[in-house]
């Protein structure tokens, strides 16, 4: 029993996409640009050459926010989306009917369709691979060259993530929606 979350030192991100490949290789995610559990968000830079706005080209690593009040879980008619024992938002492939309500409800666009099972898939925090083997990091955290991510138990006051959130300023994405994400962006 834990309440897993992740802190992201997003200013470290260089958009190399090592996390995307590590995630796919670890979890057997389908190839294809539209099949991904995690990604790095980039937008085209603002300004005119050579007067460009550096800040406008921030790289934002993102994925399922594992919200404590997850809209995807609320709208699921078959209870396929559920919280597991570690408060990780999961999808039960046996229950999913691909109605895609959850995909529309998710404010973070974190869900896609796995063509093999024809069900919705998303980040699991490596629950059925690394965590099940007793490892304490996710594939994306482990491989990251600039160490953007720190994964851990938010309920454990001694965990590194708890310490980070106590000592560093941070924000959540679309906090105004009240979804209570468990991903925290460190500033």
């Amino acid at each position: 029993m834990a309440r897993y979350g992740m802190a992201l030192d997003y200013k470290n991100c260089i958009n190399c996409k090592a996390c995307e490949v590590a995630c796919k290789e670890e979890n057997g995610v389908l190839l294809g640009a539209d099949k991904h559990r995690i990604w790095v968000g980039v937008k085209e830079i603002e300004g005119e050459y050579p007067l460009l706005d550096i800040v406008s080209s921030t790289f934002m690593p993102s994925q399922c926010q594992h919200c404590d009040d997850a809209p995807c879980e609320m709208v699921c008619p078959t209870h396929a989306t559920y919280y597991d024992d570690n408060n990780v938002v999961r999808v039960d492939v046996d229950k999913c009917i691909l109605c895609s309500y959850c995909m529309n409800a998710c404010p973070y666009d974190a869900r896609y369709v796995d063509d093999r099972t024809m069900t919705v898939d998303k980040c699991t925090f490596c629950s059925d691979t690394r965590l099940e083997r007793g490892e304490v990091t996710t594939a994306c955290q482990n491989t990251c060259p600039t160490k953007v991510r720190t994964f851990g138990d938010l309920d454990d006051p001694d965990s590194e993530i708890s310490e980070l959130l106590r000592t560093r300023e941070h924000f959540s994405l679309k906090a105004n929606l009240g979804t209570k994400p468990k991903l925290f962006y460190l500033t």
């Binding site: 260089i14 090592a18 490949v21 796919k24 830079i45 050459y49 024809m118 304490v136 160490k147």
Partner: protein, 805 residues
Amino acid sequence: MQVEVSRRKFLQGSVAMSIVGGSSIGVTNLLASHNEKESKTSITTKTGTGEAKEIATLCEMCVNKCAALARVEDGIVTKLNPNPRFPKSKNMLCPRGNAGIQALYDPDRLKHPMIRVGKKGEGEFKKVSWEEAYEAILNGTDKFTGMNKILDEEKDNRSSFLFCAGEGMAEHTFKQFYSAFGSANWLNHASLCLQTVISGYGVTLGGYPQADLDNAEYVIMAGANRAEAIVTPDTMDIFKRTKRRGAKLICIDPRFTNTAAKADKWLAINPGTDLAFVLALTYVVITEELYDKKYVEENVAGFDKYKVNILDNKYTPEWAEKITNIKAKEIYKIAREFMAHAPKAVYYPGRRSTFSNNDFQLRRAMAIFQGISGGVDTKGGLVFGKKLKLSPHASLVPLYDRAQARAVNKVERTKGQVGYSDCAVVSGGGSWVGWRNRYLENKMPYNVRGMFIYKHNPMMNMPNTQKTAQMLEKMELVVAIDTMPSDTVMYADVVLPECTYLERTDPVKTFGGVEPSIAQRNKVLDPMFETKPVMEILRGLTEKISKPIFDITKKYDEEVQSEIKDSSEEEVYAEFDLTKPFEHSQEEVNEHMVKGLYGEEAVEALKKHGVFYPDMDKYFKQVSANEHQYYPQKKKYYSVNGGKAKTESKKVECYLPNLAKKCVDPMPMWHDEYNFNVPNGKFRLLTGRHAQFTQSGTSNNAVLRDLMPENYLWINRRVAEKKHIKFGDMIEISSSVGKTRIKAYPTEKIAPNQLFFVHGFGEESESLTWAYKNGGNDNAVIEDIIEPVYGASSMHETNVEIRKV
């Protein structure tokens, strides 16, 4: 639903593994290849929760050699994880490192030895046994000439064979073959890569230093793109500290790169004018007396001459503004800030291809600028670090009396001073393009008729692809050792398939630095199909050819003839026995290289952990989930030379009279021909790298294609708008040497008179499912211009035209 081809099925051989066919396949198959590409799409394999082995290897997806742990489940590599024990790569694997599994399970891999049966370059091959392949090399076939005939006709001139290799841990093994064979013609990646930077720093500071980006407070990164062209540990060290978190990063680049995005300041510079920028920085620190006077007095040679050069030529920031397009006030500011932070300030040396004709002088100017700041061999500055020793192992370098010296043309440069026709200095790796062009122009001092290529792709890796094709066509015997059916392999007469890096143990290697270590690539799986490591390939080859070609030596070499008379043929042959360097296994050689110096403990650590350094057990520990300690702070080798340069004089060398004798500026100076000019209607073509692919070596990797399906042409958004070019429009780029086609990406990240696309795409080999005609090939249009000092290819000196097609 997508057709799944799992990696397990790949192993069972149920995938239709097309034997390399080339254009003989014909038009119908070519059109069908689209569907074939889809059905061949392999998937990633989910890791399991049951029993698994973990084997320590070193990555070979680029040149960094980061440490990885291969997870093997039921004989299949299911995941490559970072190995936390290696101080160089510090517990990380980049996207390419993660996609290394696909290099192993690429269905297009070379699987059997093959010999050419069709027309040269068309890629029509016949699958043969290893013995038949070796026999074909020695005695030829009805399609190509064998080594025996060539060496006999060239009267045992061993230099009638050219040897070339790409960078890699086993390059050393192949080079032993070259040395034993006795040729003087060795060409490697250096003149297409970092020759000028290594040499520029080498002659000025006495070595190519590393930058202590873990402690530097101020970093100028000019023409280096560490966020995309990843170098370990630099990439990991710097980007955790930028954006007001300990290190100020100034990025100087014509393009707005990912490094620019992470910098505190980005200044767009005109291509090829960095030298003017550094000269102006130097002007500021000299006139304002900001340099480290004590350090300069004790540790810098020729400073007075250099000072006069800078002042008399009036290399002012105002002068540089006109040339570089960087505002004078910025140059003043950067010079002052740099020196205020020195010696914890770094003008980052970089590690890249030669871009402009003045690159060697640029590197000298950068090294001198760093030198006068006092930031040499010191924490936070440039560091040499320590390198752990390895025991040498026996090699064979026989003396062939008939072998001629390297095929270069000597000329008198200044009175009494001999130089070369292509360039002032010929380095060990030679000038690839200079050599190729002279070969095509019949300007060789003797006949070169055969060629061995190891892990090298000349068709893709050097400017003017058309000329490379002509060279390969002209060679009577081309032997290629590779893992993939590259464009170069298509021109081979004999193809010897090497296994991938995950299927072999490579020579143990020492990695110098602030935290030195020794690392070893251990075999993860046995080689698949009929592939072999290069060590075994050469063992088989030399067993076949050694005696027969010694007979040719005996026939022509009078020295050998008289030696035989004096002793016995057996005794003399022992010195010429080419099989000698390959008689032991790589594992045995590696053990020998470390055991004597570090004991059995090191041998075991390298097998188990892939890494060893003295006291590793004591020092190495995990500090947090993301951090490890390799050496305690006090044990790190920041300073190994008392803060001095490593030149013979132990001083930073500003003025080198030897260069003047070779008609090279003895100290960095600006010349008008260095000015950046693009005729109206044309564009300057820039090339470079990024984090998801390594040159042409990974172009067929389906997992990496997932991240970036092809390369795109960066064109200024406003220029594109005027030309009605939209994202994805196909553009034809042409120069004086050729054409290529590529899709457009209009962006403000590039200047209106410049174009950019990443190198390594647009291969022509039809045997590469994913890389075939995918994107544009920069070397099809880059002109074969070489810089004057080492004959290195200048990649950014070509102007091009574009046309929407």
